[in-house]
Symmetry: C2
Subunit: 350 residues, 2 copies
């Protein structure tokens, strides 16, 4: 099937692929590439305080965003150093990160009691400042990716007040009081739209929507709380910024990936590490750019195992637009040398 | 595609469907149907002590196994009241269930240090006694289902010593020391084969292999640690008991379900609640019996929402062998009246 999109004129490899072109070598970035596996990140973290302090210090956040590009100049994109829970913070929940336990949002919205919250849209402004600083400093050959969480995943944290194994609190609320849950989703959607528009205005050249918990929903709930809100966000952004490239990453969506790709209007589909690339290449639309999907644990393992894991993904997607990435965020205990090896394998510089 | 299996002669609806026949109304049972949502279970639990005490008291375990059939005579099968962690217990780990925290296995096999363990095969014997008691008391029109965990899922508990969000300890070990991990899988496989053979000898008429954490593996690991061990267990059991019906339930396998069904030799495939029934009906072999897949949270919700959730599953699988079930174990806070409603909807007695 020929691509429905006109060929992009961009000289930036990542944007070209998002526009439907194939590139060899393929463009590459890594989810959570600005983070704790980098000694220069850990040093800044020790000097500057908590994770949230870093996110809200635009100079520090910009520096962190650029760190992986400085260390690995072959990477094709910088992704904004921030967190998907900035949106609940702007909606009015208190946000903290407890060492070893992860994020806490208070009060939890176990009954979607949104009337208790006062919105603080100004809590988004420092993030735009980071985007502007990164864009000003970034090599023009590289692409700056902004991001947000998708409404379902953000809602699952807001309802439980924290991460949870199977997002049961949010799924139960969605069944027990679909009206209240719909209002919560709508509030998240509205702020997310502002947030992503603000990132674009500040210089983001592509966006990724992280739907980390898309995998826990029944088909009807997936349609209602993943596909529909994502489709509305994509359509609204495109009204403001026609053709803007948006990568959707519905982690764990499995057999529902094709419906997600077809119905949301995203430009490219991120695949988690559990997806068989041969299956994806066969079952997903030929002209759809795919991103992924090396197992981050294979990257930790390194050695022959890494070498053998990298190539089948390249081979499976050789005939279509492909962006190399991991299937999940890079782990903090990943050796730098393994990242270097991965890059040399993908970029053919070994 | 016509069924490759000869029509079964069985008068038991569940066995007929496992043999490739369609039945109307469809046979039905519920994962974890013998459990805490039943007041008669909670009463026995209070009287008799811990979960493990109940599992090892063959009279109590047989009574619990039969409780759901006594309360809901329309159910077509009893499933043995036991736990997948009986196998690690027989391999020599200590097993305890901590209220509110779930199971603990000690020592955890974080480095697959199997030489520290002494096998106790006699720890399986009381379970066979339960199977015999249930079979003797069970209505001959009903089917007795035995079960075990699949090696990968059992290994993930044995390595971490408990449940975990993404089975990272076991996945890391499998990458870091594939030889040691293969030995662990092989040990589990051997005991599981004995355990399932013992259940069949004691009177189980069908088996289910629970692979609760199949969804966390990369395609290569899924092939190596889910499909291959499952295929070996199925083949070995069929050597001893030709044609014996075995349901595979690789939770979270998503797009890898078709490969699992094709390569393991299982008789029927259990679908979790995240699988779109229309997708499954389209993508999975026509002659393959499917089991599932109502969202347990829809059963908790009840009302119109339950009514609307039940029928699309029946409709999607109307043209193939289908066993109605939930997509996951029934939750302890499920109202009995909702279960009654579900049964009446499936059995057409509303």
């Amino acid at each position: 099937m020929p691509s429905a999109r006109p060929p992009a004129q961009s000289e930036k490899s990542l944007l070209a692929v998002l526009g439907g072109e194939r590139r060899d070598p393929v463009p590459m970035w890594m989810m959570r590439q600005a983070g704790r596996y980098l000694p220069e990140y850990r040093e800044l973290r020790t000097a500057k305080g908590s994770f949230l302090d870093l996110v809200y210090d635009a100079d520090a956040a910009a520096e962190i965003t650029l760190q992986p590009l400085n260390r690995f100049p072959e990477l094709d994109a910088a992704i904004l150093f921030s967190d998907i829970l900035i949106v609940p913070f702007a909606i009015g929940q208190n946000l903290s990160f407890i060492a070893g336990e992860g994020p806490r949002l208070t009060p939890p919205l176990i009954n979607a009691q949104l009337d208790q919250l006062t919105a603080y849209p100004a809590r988004l402004d420092p993030i735009y400042e980071t985007v502007r600083k990164v864009r000003a400093a970034l090599d023009p050959a590289k692409t700056l990716i902004g991001f947000a969480g998708s409404p379902w995943t953000v809602a699952s944290y807001m309802v439980a007040g924290q991460g949870s194994r199977d997002q049961a609190d949010a799924r139960r609320l969605a069944y027990a009081d679909a009206g209240a849950f719909a209002e919560l989703i709508q509030r998240i959607e509205a702020v997310t739209l502002d947030y992503l528009s603000g990132q674009i205005a500040a210089g983001a050249e592509a966006l990724q929507l992280f739907d980390s918990w898309a995998g826990s929903l029944s088909p009807a709930q997936f349609e209602q709380w993943v596909i529909a809100p994502t489709a509305r966000i994509v359509a609204s952004l495109r009204t403001r910024y026609p053709g803007f490239p948006i990568i959707g990453f519905p982690k764990g969506a499995g057999g529902k990936l094709a419906a997600y790709a077809r119905e949301t209007g995203i430009s490219a589909l991120g695949l988690d590490e559990t997806v068989d690339p041969l299956w994806a290449a066969r079952e997903l639309p030929d002209n759809l750019p795919l991103q992924g999907n090396l197992d981050p644990l294979a990257l930790i393992a390194g050695g022959d195992l890494l070498d053998e894991a990298v190539k089948p993904i390249l081979d499976a997607f050789a005939d279509r637009p492909h962006i190399y990435n991991l299937g999940h965020g890079i782990s903090q205990d990943t050796p730098i040398a393994h990242v270097e090896r991965l890059i040399s394998l993908v970029k053919g510089t070994k």
